[in-house]
Symmetry: C2
Subunit: 77 residues, 2 copies
């Protein structure tokens, strides 16, 4: 199975969700992308259909938006 990608922006709800996702899926099965540390990944996330963070993009390309942490616009701004 290829990896899922978990995008987040460091907000408290993101970090909490990150821990849950890593516990559930396993750290080896998910790549964590923090926009606050690497905003060059934002276009890729938008292309994948990410509308808000935290979000999990599954290996088959589905986007699961988890809670509503911050809009993509807020992450950019």
């Amino acid at each position: 199975m290829s990896k899922s990608i978990f995008y987040h922006a460091g907000c408290p709800v993101c970090v909490s969700a990150e821990h849950d996702i890593v516990n559930l899926i396993g750290a080896e099965n998910v790549e964590i992308v923090h926009f606050g540390e690497d905003n060059s990944r934002i276009p890729e996330a938008e292309k994948a259909g990410v509308k808000s963070v935290p979000a999990l993009v599954t290996p088959n390309g589905n986007v699961l938006h988890i809670n509503f942490g911050a809009s993509m616009d807020a992450v950019k701004g």
Copy 2:
């Protein structure tokens, strides 16, 4: 590890999310609750902090709201 519980109401986004969650976590690690088939579980879900469905309650009690399918009020009504 105890099971996670995935609550949903049969909406298209719920079913899609269900398939993703089952694929990611493994069917043996998650109980699926469909409010359309068993609305007696709604109070339990609300007590756990579920505000909308689909939602995943993790073994440690955190609630991950996935997308925004239907508010709990819509499920009841």
